[in-house]
């Protein structure tokens, strides 16, 4: 009867959340959702609240108002270590690797909360297949890797949690164009293997080419929400985020 997605399709549902940094009202009523199998992107300028939205989801900065539901369960006030256990893993902005641990140790830390540790070997192999370069450097200290390689470790580490939803925060930040292409290729590949992804990006062009739907954030609010294709055509978006002159 209807083409609207059924409720079971929606795995992450954010409903009108308000999040504060101390006295600063950082998110002023953000709503968005991610459905099974999708790549959804969240774009916007620096300071618009993209990272804060992710920190609200994974419990590092819990919203004061509003609701976040994951697979139908309310996770608004669930502490972050339990959110991860429920299946939300993140590759954070700025990578945030453990610099004095080896690549392999970093990846293994990604599986920290998993109780089924017997498939660890298999999952490591999966990450090494996605990123053959990491397999060459598995015993190297993470702090000594190049930016692109560190980004691979950060994504690989998040995958080691076998997430049901993957949050990627600025995976292309500070990378050479050739690495940016490569990273987005892998993001698509991970998604094709079945993991839904919420992708936060400043590189709006690449993000909108990769995602199926997108949200545009402006100063703590969702300004626009549409199919990625439609957003690419949107004049406002083209001017502000795709760097096209008026």
């Amino acid at each position: 009867m209807t083409t609207e997605p059924t409720r079971e399709d929606v795995i992450l549902e954010i409903d009108d959340i308000h999040t504060y940094y101390g006295a600063i009202h950082a998110l002023k009523g953000v709503s968005l959702n991610v459905r099974a199998g999708e790549i959804v992107t969240l774009i916007g300028a620096n300071g618009a609240g993209k990272t804060t939205t992710l920190r609200s989801i994974n419990g590092l900065n819990q919203p004061r108002d509003g609701r976040i539901r994951f697979q139908g369960r309310d996770i608004t006030s669930v502490p972050s270590h339990q959110v991860v256990k429920m299946g939300i893993a993140q590759s954070p902005e700025g990578r945030k690797l453990f610099p004095r641990m080896s690549v392999r140790e970093n990846l293994e830390m990604g599986a920290f909360q998993r109780s089924d540790r017997k498939n660890l070997r298999e999952d490591l192999d999966r990450v090494y297949t996605l990123f053959p370069r990491l397999s060459e450097r598995k015993n190297q200290k993470a702090g000594t890797l190049s930016g692109g390689e560190q980004q691979m470790v950060a994504i690989g580490r998040a995958l080691m949690a076998r997430p049901k939803l993957l949050l990627l925060d600025e995976p292309s930040m500070g990378l050479a164009p050739i690495f940016v292409e490569k990273i987005f290729e892998i993001v698509r590949e991970i998604n094709e293997q079945g993991t839904p992804i919420l992708l936060v990006e400043q590189n709006a062009l690449m993000a909108l080419e990769t995602a199926s739907r997108g949200y545009v954030m402006e100063t703590g609010r969702i300004a626009l929400a549409d199919e990625a294709k439609a957003l690419r055509q949107n004049e406002q978006v083209r001017k502000t985020y795709l760097g096209e002159g008026a």
């Binding site: 994974n58 590092l60 270590h81 339990q82 991860v84 954070p92 945030k96 690797l97 453990f98 990604g110």
Partner: protein, 325 residues
């Protein structure tokens, strides 16, 4: 230049009287291990919170006083008892006091530091100094100004004797207890789940939380370990020396210097720094030929602290970090 002079001074002392040199070396090694147990507590907590827990030295002193209560008042162990009774009493006291001061230290973090974790560092530092006074004055209130000691429980018979040099069981016990404790600690940090969580939290707290590590619990585990190690130090100190409520102030500063010397945040560094400080103190106070003497010990130890902070703030084994500490 300075190092050269010190080496020459040590060599001259060594050749003038090798047996005295060896005896002094062994004393330094023993004292250094006690400093090490306390220094590790500073370094563990600094590594994970970037907080200098000034209360740590006082926790150590209070643990020593409480172990006097357990060992002498409750168990009634005296020098007249057999060695077996003394050893059993000391081990039992160790277990009790470690458990108590692990709990005390966890409580200190929970009450005084946890809420200040996102506050400016100065706030936490001042709280740590306040906590130091509180713990010290609890010691004063409970134990008054009198010195306590349980030395002489372990006989001063020789473990070995080479020429004039002898090493007594009384001193050797310190090493005999400390080494397994350090081995266990190293294993815990390197190989257990809690240990991995500690290392991850120390290197990047947010990332650790994102991977499902319970950061609060991990920090509690760290304080528990630091408290238990301070208690081992307290028991051992009590079996060697006199101590009272304010013993922890100076010993805490010495141990802190040792942690900085080794590279704060670095476990091996803390033990290395403590051993060096123990040796420096022993050489200074024990060698006969032109040693400055015990009046200068404090000036030398804290002179070292200043010299490291100025010339090598990352310490002997620490890594240079962007923040410089």
């Amino acid at each position: 230049m300075l190092v050269g002079l010190i080496v020459v001074w040590l060599l001259v002392n060594f050749f003038k009287d090798p047996s005295e040199f060896a005896a002094v070396f062994l004393i330094g090694l023993t004292n250094g291990t006690v400093y090490g147990l306390v220094a590790i507590g500073y370094t563990l907590v600094y590594g994970i919170l970037q907080l200098i827990n000034f209360a740590h030295g006082d926790v150590f002193a209070l643990s020593g006083l409480v172990s006097f209560t357990v060992l002498v008042d409750w168990l009634g162990v005296t020098p007249a008892d057999s060695t077996a009774v003394a050893v059993g009493g000391i081990l039992f006291t160790l277990v009790v006091v470690m458990a108590v001061f692990a709990t005390v230290n966890v409580t200190i973090e929970f009450v005084a530091y946890r809420r200040l974790r996102h506050a400016p560092r100065l706030a936490a530092l001042i709280t740590a100094i306040g906590m130091s006074f509180i713990v010290q004055n609890v010691g004063l209130a409970l134990y008054d100004v009198d010195f306590r000691s349980a030395s002489g429980l372990i006989p001063r018979t020789n473990v070995f004797e080479i020429g004039d040099v002898s090493y007594t069981w009384n001193k050797f016990m310190v090493i005999l207890i400390t080494v397994p404790v350090l081995v266990l600690l190293t294993w815990f940090v390197a190989s257990t789940r809690h240990g991995k969580a500690m290392r991850a939290t120390a290197q990047d707290r947010d990332a650790a939380a994102m991977l499902g590590i319970n950061v609060n619990r991990t920090i509690s585990v760290t304080f528990a370990l630091a408290g238990a190690l301070a208690a081992v130090g307290g028991v051992l100190f009590l079996t060697q020396f006199n101590m009272r409520y304010d013993t922890g102030f100076e010993l805490g500063l010495i141990a802190f210097t040792a942690a900085v010397l080794g590279g704060i945040g670095n476990l091996t560094g803390a033990v290395l720094g403590a051993t060096l400080i123990g040796l420096i103190q022993a050489f200074n106070e024990g060698l006969a030929w032109h040693a400055p003497g015990s009046d200068w010990t404090r000036s030398i130890v804290f002179g070292i602290l200043i010299a490291i902070l100025v010339f090598r703030p990352e310490g002997l084994l620490g890594e240079r970090t962007p923040e410089g500490a």
